[in-house]
Structures are given as C-alpha cells and as structure tokens.
Amino acid sequence: MANKKNRWFLPTNTDNLKMMVAQGLISSPDGFSPNKYYKDELENYPGFIPVFKNSIPKDTLELIISEQENMTACLIEIDLVKITQGSAKNQNYEAVDISIDSHNDLLLLLAPLPLSCIKKIVFKSVEDKLSLESEQKLSSNFILSDLKTHYSKADENLFNANIINKGVEFFDKDKEDGNEVKTQTDPVKPVPVNYPRIYAFGGLLVSLFYIAKNGKLSNKIYQDFCTIDKASLDSDKLCIYQYFNQIEDDNILQTMYNKLLDKLISRENSKDDIIMLLEGADWGDRFKSRTQDLAQMLRGFEDNETTISEKFSKATKPLERLLLMLFHKESIESLIEYQLDMFTEDDYLLFSLIFGVRDKFIKMPKFVREYQNLQNFISNKMAEYAHSELKSSIKFKSISSPKTVWDILNAKSTAKKAVKKLEITDCVQTVMSGDCQIQGNERIFKGYAEPKYKIIEREYFKIISSKNIGTETYNNLARLK
C-alpha cells in the first residue's frame, strides 16, 4: 500500500485569507493592512508561517474564529514542494529541512510565502466554500484567480479535531505536581520584513506590466525591473531602480527620489507628505531652493486660475511632471484612463512606476490583476524580493512572466492575430525584402518571399496609449498561439 502523503495546513479564517490574497502574500500579521488582522496562529509565531501536519489542534480551530461573531474557518493547504531551497524551524525553533515527510508536526516557514505555495483552500462545508467564492464579486482585490477552493466530506474531519491541545507537544514539557509548564527554546526573532516596500515593488511591477503595452521602451523597462538588468534605465528611472536595490548614490536626484519614495511607501496621504517633505528643514543648502520651488508649484496646482495643460507645460523636468501628476490623479486606475497629448511614452512610464509604488500591489486595478497568471507571478516576485532583502536562503519554484502585450504583438506566431484583435492595423507596416518586378498593381518576387510585419512606433503609441486592455482582451491575446 502506498504511503499516504502528509498534508500541511495554515489554519486561519476567511477574513485573513481574503487579506492575504488581496495583498498578494501569505504574511505575518505585520504584513496586514492596519487593523485588518484577525486572531489566528500567525501572531503566536512572529515572522513565521506556522503549518500543521495532517491535523489541527482543537484550540487552534477555536482561536481562528474567536475574534468576532459569524467568522468562517478555513485551512490553507501549503504545497511545500514549491519551496525549493532553504530551511524551516521546528516547534523548538531549531533549523529543520522543509520536507513533506518531515517528522515534525509543526513547521515554521520564514514569512512571507507567495500565493503559488497555496495548494488549495479547504472548507468545512460546501456552503462556506461557495460563500467565499461569491465574495469575489463584493471586492476589488479579492481575486481567487487560479487558487483552488475545496470541500470534501473526508476533509470535514480536519475541522473536528478532538486533540485537546496539540500545542503542548510543541513545547518542552516540565511536569511539576501534575501541572504542565510550557517552556520553550528562546525563538530567534527573524529580521522584520519591510512589507510596505515589498508591496510597493509588487505594485511597480504590475503597473509596468500594464504599461509595457505602450511600446518597445516600456516593454524593456518592465523586463529590466523583472530581471534586474538596468542597461536601458535613464536618470529618473535609474533612481527608482537603485532605491529598490538599495544601491547607494549620493547625487541630488537620487537623494530626492529616495526621500520621495520613502514617503510614498510609508504613508497614506501622499499629497500632504510630499508638501511637508519638500518644505521640511532637513534638506540643507544644496537642495533647499529647488525643494521650496517644487513645494510652491504643488501648492499652486490646486488653484483654478489656469488649466491643467498649462500647469503641465510649465513643468519641464520629469520630476516636476511626476509630482504634478501625483497631485492630479489619486489612483493608478485614474492614471490609466487619463490622456493628455503632450505626454510621451517616457512620461507615462515614469508616472506608472511611481503610481505603482504609491498604490502598491493591493490597489492595482482588478482588471489587470485578473490577467492570466499575473497575480501569481507578481506574488512570487514579491516573495523573492522579500527573501533577498532578508538574505534568507529560501527559494521558490520560479514562475515565468506572462507575456506582455508588446511581446505578443512582436512574436512571429501571434503578431498578425494580435494586431487584428486589438484593431490596430493602421499602426502596422508589411515589409517584403528582395528584388521585385511591378506588373500593374502587383509586385512579384522571385522564389518564396516572407512578409515581415513591423509596428510603426509613433502611430502605435498614439493609439495604444489611449486603449485600455481589459481582462478579457488580454486573456484572449495571451491564449494566441
């Protein structure tokens, strides 16, 4: 008889699950939005994701639905195979291998984990499962995408544990006069994860993925940020790149970007923070007059004496335009819908980078997050980034990036069909190489001549930058072969 494989579960409630899916990572409570974490085992193991082998202790099952009435329990089944490298801790905080066959009943995995580590989400009843699925229609960022929800009669038992407190097994027991005293090896506290920065990086990648449709340059920048290749980054974009890769550079522009990005990432109200940052006293003589001018420009943005296009025309530097746009548009979604003829592909790129950072993964538009495989890919990227920041040895099974619209339009096999689907034939030229004879309306080539389709970039940008690529359109394009 074949050995039954072990299953590993993170027990929680549907409220925490929704939050983890929305934020794109299975995280510790400090990775949750303020006041959105509901009690479960995560808070008992700071910095780790505790996963239980095959069964859940009764008190844990009670704990996860204890904070408010009518809460719903669920078990996130973790696929340990998706963690390809690194170690976990056991109940005594000793390093152990991450293995399905581990003899430990509890493994503590260093947080965060990507959503791709979720094998399935197990429910106690079919009603609970359906209820959670239907909650997708009530939210802009709870998107199950290809996450599997599961109910089976057999798995009902997982919710009916009669183990009174399996937790005691996780501690060294000292018995005195029949009383159990829990003692525990002092846990080594993991280095805290800078979650806002991780989520900002995720937002930046989603935003770049969307804007990669705009042309060759935009597509290249997306690839650069994905693959850590800074070859084609100019000064402003290089500053953002260096910020996320913590490359030190004390030039004026880098310093200004570092401070601006810190503010955008750490706080909710960016307008107020930007003004306070620019008007602050800690800039020193080297920066002061520049920052004061910028602050004045932004305060003046709110008045109605001139039109928006006049205000933007006066802003000559990328950073000035960027700051004005941060004041003008309050979400990435409204930026995507916004058109002003004067903006170039480069302008939109910079706006998208910074709006992705400000709004973070959680506020990325639903219609983009629903692009096939994008949510999973970005989640993996965020988890990789977090673990590289932590200098942890954990590695995850890699996921390749979904194809960008530009990739699809430029791949030989899909270009023609994609141009047709997007109705952008006016932006395409057909090029035939070789000598030809002209007979009436026909050009005759000797042998087999292959036509090549070429995108006319100027025309293309004009049309595509004002075209929204919805979920259905993108997913149809991604399926082209």
């Binding site: 409220d15 929704k18 939050m19 899916v21 929305a22 934020q23 939005s33 006041n35 959105k36 509901y38 408010q68 009435e69 009518n70 809460m71 239907s134 909650e135 229609k137 009530l138 939210s139 802009s140 960022n141 709870f142 109200n269 307008k271 107020d272 003004i275 306070m276 008007e279 305060r299 709110e302 109605n304 039109t307 928006i308 296009s309 003008h328 548009k329 979604e333 409204s334 819908e337 959680i362 506020k363 639903k366």
Partner: protein, 376 residues
C-alpha cells in the same frame, strides 16, 4: 465624457466593524448607525449584492439616492424609494388610496389599523433601508403589523432632514435590539480632515458625541473656502474650470431654490470660457419637479441639485450657493442640520459662494476652518 464607476471596496478598505456587518446572517433585524461618510450605504449595497439572488428590496429615501444606487452597483438592484414603495404596497393590499392627513402626509394610525386586519401570510421579503432615520417610527410599526420580519436599516439621526423621522433609540426599540446589537460605524472615509471640520461645525445633536474626524494633516491642503463674489458669472467659470481639471470628477452644485437651480444650469451651459476639454455634462434634478431622476451618475460632470435631493449622495467637489438659503423662525439648528448634510457630501473639496453677508453668515465657521476669499 469620462465614465465613473462604483468602485468596489478593497478588502483593506473595510474596517472590522464593516466586516462584522457584512458577516451578519441573512435573516433578522439589524440596525447600523454612523455619521456621514462612514460607509453605511456601502455596506447596505454590498449586502444587497451579497444576497442578490434572494428575496430582498433596497429602499432609499429620495429619488436621487435610489437612482445612484441602481446605476452604480452594476447589477439589477431591486430598489425603490421608501414612500413610493409604501404607497404601492398599501394599494396592492387594499385596492384603495393611501389614507392621508394631507397631501403626501400619510395617516399611519389608519394604515396600521388596515394592516392589522390584513390576513395575507407574512412576507419573507428582506428589506434594506438606507437613511432609515428619515421615516417615522409608525412607518416601521405598520410594516411589522404586516408581518415583515427581516430588516436591515442604516441610519444617522443627525442627518434627519424631514419633520417625520425616527431616532436611533426608537429604531432599536422597534427592532427589539439591545444597545450592544446596534452596530456603530465610526470612521469617516469620505471627507478630508478640513472638510470634516466644517461639517462638524454644523453638528447639532447635544446628546451624542461628535463624529470622529479623519486624521489631521499638516500641510493644510484643501481647506474649504467661502468666496464672496460680485459677478455671478465668475462663480460659474470657477465651477467649469474645476470640472475641466478632471473629467471623471462628479461636481455637486447645491442650491436653495428651483429658480436658482435653473439659472445655474443655464449659465453653466452658456457662459463663454476656454477649457482644455469639451464643456462638461451639466445635469440637474429638483424634488419639486416630481419626475424621475434623469441624472447619469456614471458620467463625470456637474450636477445641480437642491439640498433636499443630495441626501446620501457624495461628490468629488461640492459647491454650495448660499444665496437663497434662509433661517426660518429663528430656527438655526434646522439650518445647521441642512448645512451639515450639504458639507459632508464633499470628498475632496468644499467651496461656498455668497454675494454678500446674509442670515446664514452668522452660523458659518470661523476663518481658520473656512477661509474667506474674494472671487475676482
């Protein structure tokens, strides 16, 4: 023109009190209270969406709110206005006209008597009521007499704008709820701190604490302004330039009387001005017209309304035309309540216009809360 959408909240946008509301079971009696911008209507709409396959009805107090709710949810919301539905319900049961004390003033005592005698089986209908404080308690009494059992009411007694209304205590008593069962939403998500400060200035209820203010910000951006003008056309141009900044913004212009509404609408459509974009859509509705609301809330642009019609609505920018508002019988509190509702509709900006000092000026907040400027 730019499309607007009812933006579904993200998981992180709902606080734990709102989560609690959304987890409430389908059957039962529930009362949700909270000040302006605390998300009462949002949770009511989300509940309607959650149970959209079942037997429920969403009822709003005024036509504009009813129209907005229907348009923005993106699905076929089963909705009506409170009074209109009540008239139809009564007629359907009795085949007689509604007993009234005077025109459109329902004689609830008689209705209760009629409903008591009704022998039809109790209804399973789930009733969701927005702005529940604006109906008298006898309205609820009569529904209970008819056998309705499932109520989900959202209310704020500080936003009562009718003379027939219900207090929080009356509502919880009639639903048989203990104090702990009433869910209170406290966090103001709509208004910026400076806008909420102005709204709070008009708060009248001495028996309950003032609504919580959003976090104060240091840069003092977006402080509401009272502009004194000499030429009314300057106000109109100001409004048009504001609308031109962002075509997805919905701008509310609140006026006191239908005559002013007509003048504003005409000038907004006619005055000469250079803009970046085509002139915004100008829409209006007056409750006096007794017509269906013909406002498309899914488009950005300017909507001119009287203050009775703006209940429950929200706008990116609100302009209040103070000329025409009057304090009757020295009842300042009544005017304050109206100004409380008007000011708290604004999400980003709140601007008042007046041509000269009048009755209202004395109840306006001081300079540090409401800046004074001249419009030239």
């Amino acid at each position: 023109m730019a499309k607007r959408k009812f933006r579904l909240p993200g998981v992180e946008d709902l606080n734990k009190d709102q989560d609690r509301v959304l987890r409430l079971p389908e059957d039962g009696q529930f009362l949700i209270v909270g000040g302006p911008g605390t998300g009462k209507s949002v949770v009511a709409l989300l509940r309607a969406m959650k149970f959209s396959d079942n037997d429920y009805l969403f009822l709003a107090y005024n036509h504009t709110l009813h129209s907005l709710s229907k348009q923005l949810t993106g699905f076929d919301l089963k909705a009506d206005t409170l009074k209109s539905w009540f008239y139809k319900l009564q007629y359907k049961l009795t085949k007689k006209y509604m007993p009234e004390i005077r025109d459109r003033k329902i004689d609830y005592d008689k209705v209760i008597e009629i409903f008591k005698e009704n022998e039809e089986p109790a209804s399973d209908l789930h009733i969701l009521i927005d702005e529940g404080q604006d109906m008298p308690i006898k309205f609820y009494d009569s529904l209970i007499e008819l056998g309705f059992e499932n109520f989900f009411i959202v209310a704020d007694q500080n936003q009562q704008i009718t003379d027939e209304n219900s207090s929080r205590k009356e509502l919880s008593d009639i639903l048989g709820l203990e104090v702990k069962d009433v869910i209170e939403l406290k966090q103001n998500y709509r208004n910026s701190h400076p806008v909420a400060l102005v709204a709070q200035h008009f708060f009248t209820d001495k028996s309950s604490p003032k609504p919580e203010l959003p976090e104060a910000l240091k840069a003092a951006l977006g402080t509401p302004i009272l502009y004194e003008y000499k030429d009314f056309n300057q106000c109109i141009k100001f409004i048009l330039r504001e609308a031109d900044r962002d075509l997805t913004n919905l701008i509310g212009v609140v006026v006191a009387k239908t005559e002013i509404l007509d003048i504003c609408k005409g000038k907004l459509g006619g005055v000469e001005i250079e803009l970046d974009n085509p002139r915004p859509i100008i829409q209006s509705y007056s409750s006096k017209n007794k017509q269906d609301v013909n406002i498309d809330f899914s488009e950005g642009g300017v909507v001119v309304l009287n203050d009775k019609s703006i209940k429950g609505l929200e706008f990116d920018v609100v302009f209040v035309m103070l000329n025409g508002f009057e304090i009757y019988n020295n009842d300042e509190d009544s005017m304050r309540k109206r100004l409380y509702v008007m000011s708290s509709r604004a999400i980003k900006k709140l601007i008042f216009f007046q041509s000269s000092e009048n009755d209202i000026t004395k109840i306006l907040p001081s300079n540090n809360i409401l800046q004074r400027k001249e419009l030239s």
